[in-house]
């Protein structure tokens, strides 16, 4: 299955890209995805340790680490917003 990761603000700057398309063999939870990403690139450890970052799956905020991620899903990484 394929999922899209979208990066914003300092996370985008840090990763030097605005998005990633990743392929996985099976559905996984958000928690498992976090471990998977950290194993691929340790910079994700820093991101996930920052408690001010919010995660939105298909435009809804994730409030449960065990939430399942499905084929075609879009996961966005949102640092604290500063619009207005």
């Amino acid at each position: 299955m394929n999922i899209t990761l979208k990066y914003f603000s300092w996370i985008r700057v840090k990763l030097k890209k605005s998005h990633d398309l990743i392929e996985l063999k099976q559905n996984i939870s958000f928690k498992e995805l976090k471990n998977y990403l950290i194993s691929k690139d340790p910079v994700f450890k820093e991101i996930f340790e920052d408690k001010s970052v919010k995660y939105f799956l298909n435009l809804s905020e994730i409030d449960d680490e065990n939430q399942l991620i499905n084929n075609g899903d879009i996961l966005a990484f949102l640092p604290p917003v500063t619009g207005g």
């Binding site: 979208k6 914003f8 603000s9 300092w10 985008r12 700057v13 939105f56 435009l59 966005a76 949102l78 640092p79 604290p80 917003v81 500063t82 619009g83 207005g84």
Partner: protein, 153 residues
């Protein structure tokens, strides 16, 4: 009426969009690019606004609905710019329209307070050397938002 745009807007034109004889009171909030200092105390040249547009639209719709319902507004318009903006340029406009002024004024303040901490926009200072410096969220904005929790469902 919600717009996310990289073009500027005219206040009179936007007012006409929400204008009606059933309204007696309009409250506007307009945010512009202030001549600010960077973290190294140098004058900024402008700002850059990043946005997760699909999400921001959903978030703005929610805020607008809350404002309309809680203060019985007749209309509520929100425009937010994205991209590169020069000093003095308009960033954000909120217009609330109501029969009487108290509701329009409170609702307008609620919308801009909510937008500041709940919508997917990110501001960067543009510096002399074309570098971007991230603007940090103000803790004051978060505190200000807490006030509304008791008022809004």
């Amino acid at each position: 009426m919600i717009k996310i745009t990289n073009e500027s807007f005219d206040l009179e034109t936007e007012f006409k969009c929400v204008s009606s004889n059933t309204n007696g009171a309009y409250s506007f909030f307009l945010g512009t690019v202030r001549s600010d200092l960077s973290s190294s105390n140098k004058k900024i040249k402008g700002i850059y606004l990043e946005c997760y547009e699909e999400l921001a639209l959903v978030q703005l719709k929610k805020i607008r609905s809350k404002a309309l319902n809680n203060w019985k507004l007749n209309e509520c318009l929100i425009i937010h710019r994205i991209g590169k903006l020069d000093l003095g340029e308009k960033i954000v406009l909120v217009i609330t329209a109501s029969s009487h002024r108290a509701n329009a004024i409170k609702a307008c303040e609620f919308v801009i307070d909510s937008l500041k901490i709940d919508v997917a926009f990110w501001k960067f200072h543009l510096l002399d050397n074309d570098q971007k410096e991230m603007v940090l969220q103000k803790s004051l904005d978060n505190e200000k938002m807490l006030k509304w929790k008791d008022i809004i469902n």
